[in-house]
């Protein structure tokens, strides 16, 4: 850790405390603003930055340029906005990401230094000077699935015009009620094969254990948005039990607990039989009087 970092830490630390009292301002050192990334911006670095952004930042900031940050106070800046881009440089964004301020976390401990730079380059790619043409790098690949029903393995093959492609990241998911459950990302091997193991503890949607497997390229910007879904009966069979269907105190009258129904009918029946018996006795008194 160099002296600059130490200063920066003490500045952010004091800023943090100040921010508890009042809404603080970013205090970006002049030399940070002019700082440049060790590696110049490239399609790879922007794509890597985008992936990092989606996992680490989108939950607060939303998508750049779409002004859909979550409601915090202060509101997380829309990092694609021209207002923000106008006052930023690669170096200033790198500083803000690594140091943080107030609600904005510091990422220098959780992300590597070059990842922070990739993030800065991705964010700056929304400005005129930081923009990068991704189309030169990307090519649409094809994807095919092979399922081994015995071992529950999902095998994806990436190929380009019939020839398999090596080193492409493929992401595997299982469709769930509220979203897709990631079960792994793996790179295609020399034969263009990437594979993932279907977990053993996934409940299916029905008694057959039906689930839906989703496979796509992890880096959609590079290889296209191809998605393959396939239904497999690999989940644990699932039977929905409606709590109202059983015999319960709270259930409908058709589902009265047996013990309760029997007690009720038994007691009421016994009492009313006795009442009827007494009515019979009255009739007995009556017939007796008639014949005597």
């Amino acid at each position: 850790m160099n002296i600059r970092h130490k200063i920066a830490i003490s500045i952010t630390a004091s800023l943090f405390f100040v921010s508890q009292l009042a809404h603080a301002q970013w205090n970006i050192p002049e030399d940070s603003k002019t700082l440049k990334a060790p590696k110049p911006v490239s399609a790879e670095s922007v794509i890597a930055g985008k992936a990092l952004y989606n996992t680490n930042c989108a939950s607060c900031h939303g998508q750049p340029g779409e002004n859909n940050a979550i409601a915090l106070s202060p509101k997380p800046t829309d990092l694609g906005s021209s207002e923000f881009q106008a006052r930023s440089t690669e170096g200033s964004v790198y500083f803000q990401v690594s140091e943080g301020m107030g609600t904005m976390p510091s990422f220098k401990t959780s992300l590597k230094d070059d990842e922070c730079w990739q993030l800065a380059q991705y964010i700056r790619s929304f400005s005129a000077e930081g923009a990068v043409d991704l189309s030169s790098q990307s090519k649409d690949l094809d994807l095919r699935l092979d399922l081994t029903s015995k071992e529950h393995k999902i095998i994806a093959v990436a190929y380009d015009k019939g020839a398999s492609v090596e080193g492409v990241k493929v992401a595997f998911f299982i469709k769930r009620y509220f979203g897709n459950l990631p079960i792994g990302v793996s790179k295609t091997n020399a034969n263009g094969f990437a594979q993932a193991q279907f977990p053993t503890d996934i409940p299916g949607a029905d008694t057959l254990g039906t689930t839906e497997v989703i496979v796509k390229f992890a880096e959609e910007d590079l290889y296209g948005k191809k998605i393959i879904t396939e239904k497999v009966a690999w989940g644990k069979p699932f039977k929905f039990i409606n709590p109202l269907d059983d015999n319960h105190l709270w259930a409908s009258r058709a589902n009265t607990p047996t013990w309760l129904l029997l007690s009720y009918l038994g007691v009421v029946g016994g009492v009313w039989l006795t009442i009827l018996w007494v009515v019979g006795q009255i009739l007995k008194i009556r017939t007796y009087g008639k014949w005597h």
Partner: protein, 459 residues
């Protein structure tokens, strides 16, 4: 019982028959009494029609306090009705003799109040036209269905326990009452069930009465326990109590004995039955009264001191409104005039005389109604979640004129039923009283008023 000679026996029987049947024939103050009852019922009917037109919105019931005077009234009615079981069954089975002139009065109260209890529930319904849905769609899991069942059953048994001891009295009525309309004679004829007073008929009759007397004990306990469960089976503060069943049952006995004392006093004065409802009877019932109040007091102490000592969060708001807050005036009034003071006063022999006991009974019964209002309402004013963003009127509840008028009609209805019964049938079992006084069996069996009159003519 002293053996009477033949002449005395006949004379005594004739006196008993005349004393007990003459109020049926002529009766002072009957017309103004019926008139005032009908007036009260008329006003209540008018109020009820208004409520039918406007719905329950015509009352002061609201979204929070949805049980008010009607439900308090319902518990009050069921409570009062319970007395039939205590007097004629429990004491009867033990073999207590002094209840003979009182048992039928108790049974009349039981019948009148049980019948009205069923009606009060209908008054509390927003859609009385759907009352039959209770039978069509009621769930056996619901205490409301249990309550319905048990109220009907109790009413049926009370009716039988009223009718059965009436049967041997019918020949007396047939023989003595002539100046009444035809239908009345027909009723007597029907209810006589060909009674000729043979041993065999007595045997069947007494056995039936005994069976019912035993049966009614669990049914009566059930009716009031289930009524208490309408409250206690919810987790609400003030109702969530394990002693609610016995708490209600003992409260009911207090109420019922009070009602019996008042009725005894009225019949004694108005029906001129001083010889049958003597100071001794009042003294006995007053002792029973004290015993019942002591037991009820014991339950009150448990019901309030146990949670009051702990003052659990959430319960404290409710308890403090009773002890020292909004409802404290009413609360302490009911505890003092409904329990502490009556217990204290009735410790003195002078107080166990007809007039004082009747007055004390009146106070106790009024406190009884208010107490049931206190059990029902404050809990509903303290829901688990704070009352927010609702009209100011939802925060508290006091019954309005419509509710009082309808409750008045229900009480009037119960009194009307009792009055009609007292106007049709003797308020005491002639045959039992006669038997107690040593009248010969044969005389009871072969009673003939003409014979006595001709005897008198010869003498």
């Amino acid at each position: 019982m002293a053996e009477l000679n033949r002449e005395e026996s006949k004379r005594t029987l004739h006196k008993i028959v005349t004393d007990l049947t003459s109020p049926i024939q002529k009766h002072y103050g009957f017309k103004p009494w019926i008139f005032s009852l009908l007036l009260i019922i008329g006003v209540g009917l008018y109020a009820y029609v208004t409520q039918l037109q406007k719905g329950l919105g015509a009352t002061n019931l609201n979204d929070y306090v949805s049980w008010g005077l009607y439900i308090a009234g319902f518990i009050f009615f069921v409570a009062t009705a319970l007395i039939g079981m205590l007097i004629s069954s429990v004491l009867g089975l033990i073999g207590v003799k002094w209840i003979h002139p009182i048992a039928r009065i108790a049974e009349m109260i039981a019948l009148g109040f049980a019948l009205m209890a069923g009606l009060v529930i209908v008054f509390d319904m927003g859609r009385p036209d759907r009352a039959h849905h209770l039978f069509l769609y009621g769930r056996p899991q619901s205490p409301i269905v249990w309550d319905l069942t048990v109220v009907l059953t109790y009413t049926a048994i009370s009716l039988l326990l009223y009718i059965l001891p009436l049967i041997p009295d019918m020949p007396f009525l047939k023989k003595t009452i002539h100046n009444r309309p035809k239908w009345q004679q027909k009723v007597y004829n029907f209810l006589a069930f060909n009674w000729i007073g043979d041993r065999e008929q007595y045997r069947i009759l007494k056995r039936s009465i005994r069976v019912l007397s035993i049966l009614i004990i669990p049914v009566a306990l059930a009716i009031h326990t289930v009524t208490s469960w309408l409250f206690a089976l919810t987790p609400r503060v003030g109702w969530d109590s394990t002693i609610f069943g016995p708490y209600y049952v003992t409260g009911a006995f207090v109420n019922g004995v009070a009602a019996v004392l008042i009725a005894m006093y009225i019949f004694r004065q108005n029906f001129k039955l001083k010889e049958y409802l003597t100071d001794f009877h009042f003294e006995r019932v007053a002792r029973l009264f004290v015993l019942m109040m002591l037991v009820y007091l014991y339950f009150n102490i448990n019901e309030y001191i146990v949670p009051g000592y702990k003052m659990k969060k959430g319960e404290d708001v409710h308890l403090l409104t009773l002890f020292s807050g909004h409802y404290s005036g009413l609360f302490w009034y009911t505890q003092f005039t409904g329990l502490l003071l009556p217990i204290f006063l009735l410790l003195f022999k002078k107080m166990r005389k007809p007039v004082p006991t009747a007055i004390i009974g009146l106070f106790v019964i009024i406190a009884g109604l208010l107490k049931r209002l206190l059990i029902t309402v404050p809990t509903l004013e303290h829901p688990h979640l704070p009352i927010q963003n609702v009209p100011e009127s939802f925060h508290s509840y006091t019954p309005n004129g419509i509710e009082w008028a309808i409750l008045g009609m229900s009480i009037g209805g119960a009194l009307l039923i009792i009055t009609i019964l007292a106007k049709l049938f003797p308020v005491m079992p002639i045959w039992e009283i006669a038997h107690d006084k040593g009248v010969h069996e044969d005389d009871i069996k072969n009673y003939d008023p003409k014979e006595y009159e001709s005897n008198k003519a010869i003498n």
